[in-house]
Structure formats: C-alpha cells, structure tokens
Amino acid sequence: MSTPAVEFRNIAMRFGEKVALQDIDLSIEEGSFVVLLGPSGGGKTTLLNILGGFLQPSAGQVLIDGRDVTQVAPARRPTTTVFQDYALFPHMSIAANVGFGLRMRGVPKAQRVPRVEKALEMVGLGHTALRRIHELSGGQRQRIALARALVVEPSVLLLDEPLGALDMKLRRQMQEELKAIQKRVGTTFVHVTHDQEEAMAIGDVIVVMNDGSIEDRGTPERIYLQPASRFAANFMGENNLIEGQATRSEGSCVAVTTPIGDFTVPGTAHNGARVALSLRPEHLHPDAGQGRVSLGQGSVIEAGFFGTHHQCTVTLDTLDAPLKLRLPQKRLVQVGETLALHADPADMVLLTR
C-alpha cells in the first residue's frame, strides 16, 4: 500500500485542563475526499488546525506524505486552507489574491499569470481577475478562496466549514462543485462540517468525531447503514435507538432483549451487556411483510409531510422514548391514529458503544 497522504499518530490536544482531542489515530488516503463530521466542540476544527500547523498538538505526530511535520510552521507545510470566513486579502485584486501563494513561493510573474488564470477558470470565475474582493458575492468569494488555496498545488487542501455562510441552495450547488473539482485535481481534501447531509453528499470517507475522539470512520453508506456507535448512529441522519440487553450469542449473531421484543441481530456482545439497536425511520413499517416482526402498537403524536415521505413520531406504551418513522408519500396519516409497527431484524444494527 502506498504512503497515506496524512497520518495522525496518537494525537492529543489539551487546552489547560480541557481535553480537546485524545488518542487520535487516523490515516487519510491520497486523493480522497475526507469529511470530519461532528458537533461544535467535538474536536474536528482542532484536528484540522493541527494538520494545518496552526496548533501544536500536546502529544503525537502528524505526517504528510510520510514526512513528520509536527514541528513545521504552516508556511512550510504542503497544505493550504479554505477558511470559513474566506480570509481573502481585502486590499488586493482577485488575481493578486489567487497569485499570493505562488508569489510567496518565488514563482516569477510570467509563470504566475497563466497559473492564476487557469485556477480562476477552474472555479468558473476566469473573467474576474482584475476586480476587487468587495465586488464579489459570498459564493464567488468562496470560489476565489478555493482557487487561491489550490493554485499552489498543495498535497492536502483543508476546508474549514467553507460552506457555512452560504444559503441552502448555493451550498448544495457548491457541494457538487467541490466534489467535481476534487475529482478533477485529485488533491486530497480534508473538509470539516457539522452538517451530516453535506458530509454524505461530498465525502468519500466520513470521520465522525465527538468529545475529542473519533467515533466512527468509513464510507457514508457504511456509517449510515452500519454505524459503529450510538453517537454515530444518532448524528448521521434521523434514527431510533432502542436500548436493550444482550442475552446470548448464536454464532455471528446476538439475541437482544428490548422493551419492544426480542431480536436476533448480527454482531457480537458479551452476555448481559447493555446494548442498543439502531433502527432507521425508513425501516419501520405500518404493515407486516416478509421477514418483518411486530413491535406492537403505537399512537401518532406528530406528523409532517416532507414531499418524498410523511415523517411521524409515534409513542409506544412499552417504550420511554417515542419512535420516528417514515410513511410512503401517499399514505395519509393523522395525529392520534394508532399504527401497528413492524420491522425486519436484518435492518437493525447492534451498537455496543
């Protein structure tokens, strides 16, 4: 296997008493689009700052292309950053902004000009070179920041919640563009966000972070369908977590007793261990079907139409927390209605953490 583009070895970060990161071991494959996903204060931005060189970790090593850069200043790292507030130079023209990194690297002007033009064309703003920053819209500034960071051909591009300030529609559009640009240039992208939809839309790999640790890492499909922890299961999309107890192991499956029934699901757990079952809203059904078992009756306390589906909240006598479920687009549902609930144990995911 080739050298990973980025390797975090046993990173820890403390700010005084507060532990911001602990035991971070992560390697990022060259050319991949990695998304660090988590709530604010989860440590994702701290990790990005450590990778960019803006913070020195309290312990551990950072390697980029196999080289230990833990002690290397940001200016001398093969990384560049797209900042949340873009941090463009307000007193320079757009061309001067984009060309800044090349100028710092001592690239002569004659070579800078065509490279700046190419970078501006890549982000679809080839005609703006002579304009000034304040003449641009938020989305355009975003693209300039991207061009400025990519023109120096970094090994790794860091993106610190770059789409946070954009409105929803523009954000979706920029997500697609970011993804397309990443595929075209082939640079490793490390992107920080707290928006799980954004993470799923653009990431090849998602790293779910919480409380200074990595909760889960994998492809969006893997994390959504087979989350590794209660936190990952809850943070990625809507979910229902049903607490229960593992009663016995049967080969590669475990029998779990929960308030809404006993289920045998794939996985391993100690006998008697407190576990949870993750059951996505779209895996709860109002009717019986092949492989499905009954979970009992529930009463609808909230219902909303979301276009592609109806989303309802249902309370069960047997369960403390209500369950969320999705009903097909054309299935009308009313608050107060009683629903029979069914699910296929094959859709349930055993969570031991």
Binding site: G52, G53, F54, A73, P74, A75, R76, T79, T80, T81, F83, D85, A87, L88, F89, P90, H91, M92, F100, G101, M104, R105, R132, H134, R148, A149, V152
Partner: protein
Amino acid sequence: MARSFITALRALPVWLYVVLLYGFIFLPVGVLVLFSFQESRLPIPPFNGPSLRWYEAVFADARLMAALGNSIAVALTSSLAAVVLGFLAAYSLARHRLPGAALLQGFLTAPLTVSYLIIAMGLLITFNQLGVPKSLLTVGIGHVVINLPLCFAILYSQMGAHQANIERAARDLGAREWQVLGLVTVPMLWPALFASFFLSVTFSWDEFIIAFMVSRFDVTLPVEIWSMLRTGLNPKTNAIGSFVFLISIATVLVLDLVVFRSRKA
C-alpha cells in the same frame, strides 16, 4: 399654497436653531478670518478691507516662518513616531498573549484621560531631572506622549479576529512573518494608519501647553502666536490664526477624502 407656507413656517424654529448653533460655533472663527483681511492696524469694526497686507507681513516675518517650519517638522515626525509605536503596541497586544495584557493596555490608553497641563508638567519635571535641554525634540516627545494612546486605540480596534484570520491565511500560503506584516497587515490597515497619522498631525499642529512648557529658543507656531498676542491684537495675529485654521481644515479634509473614500470603496 397656504399649506406649504404653514409647513415652511413650522420649519422656521428649526432653521433658526441651526443658524444659531452654527453661528455660535463658527462666528469667532469667521470674525478672525474676516479681520485678517483688515486694511487698518486694528482688527476691530468697521471692516475696511479686503487687503492682503497682513498676510504679506506674516510671510515676511522670519520668526513666524521659522516657527511654522518647526511646527510642521514636529507634527510630521512626532506623528510618524506615534503611529509606528502605536502600531507595534497594538499588533503585539492584538496578536500575542502577553502576561498582564489588560494592564498594559490600560497604561497605554491612560494618557488620553490626563489633561495636557499635567502631562506637560510631568514632562518638564522629568526632562529637568534627566538634564535633557528644552528643545523641539522635547516638544516632539511630548506630542508622541499625547498621540500614541490615540494611535494605539484606533489601530487596536482595527485588528480583530477577522484580520487575524486573514494574516493566518497569508502564513498558510507561505508568507514569512515580515511578509505577513509588509504585504498583509500594514496594507490592510492602511486606512486606519492614515487616519491615526493625520489625527496626530492635527493635534500636534494645534497643541500649545506642552509645546509652551518644554520648548525654549526654537518654538512651534502656537507658542509664537501666543508671544505675539502678549504685545496686543493686530490683524497680523488674525492672519496667522487664519492660516493655522486653514491648515487644520486641509488636514481634516485630506483625512476624510482618503480614509472615508477608501472605506466606501
């Protein structure tokens, strides 16, 4: 028709107030300027000008011209020193975590609250103790003392988190510290630097008490005007006063044009 007349009548007190207010502020200056064009030897009514003879007298007066040169030299150099020192202090306090930063900041801005008279006395005593002779240099030092806190406060307010992030971006793109300062921090703060420089110039240009107390043979223009006034009023003092006023106005205009126009841009 009648209606618009009533509306105009209602607006009358407002206009009266405006005229009185501006009259109160500008009448003394207006009188000063008017009688600088007086033909006769006394700057009192009736006005019998206009004549430029007193302006001629001012520009022919070697002592006044020397004082004018001194004032310009002191204003420019002391303001430059105040801006440079204020910038360095603001940069260090805004960008680095220093022990006792709040205290340092307090001490830097404290002179703003002290009267010029007290500062002048303090400087006079200090210079005497140190055996520093009174000169234009000591006047310049005095003006740095009063203008440094102002420059610091203006520049510090312009070095927020957003500016810090822009400097971070420059470092991220490969700029060394001196390049960050020279290519990003200073040009980005250019309007604030310019504003603090020109404000310092106007304050130094007008300043009398410190300049009076810590100067001796070479004096600045306000001190020279004061010694002229001791021998009584004549239109020449009006002429030089008008000239000082003109320079102040011009400085403020330049400041306004350069700084505020670039802000808008």
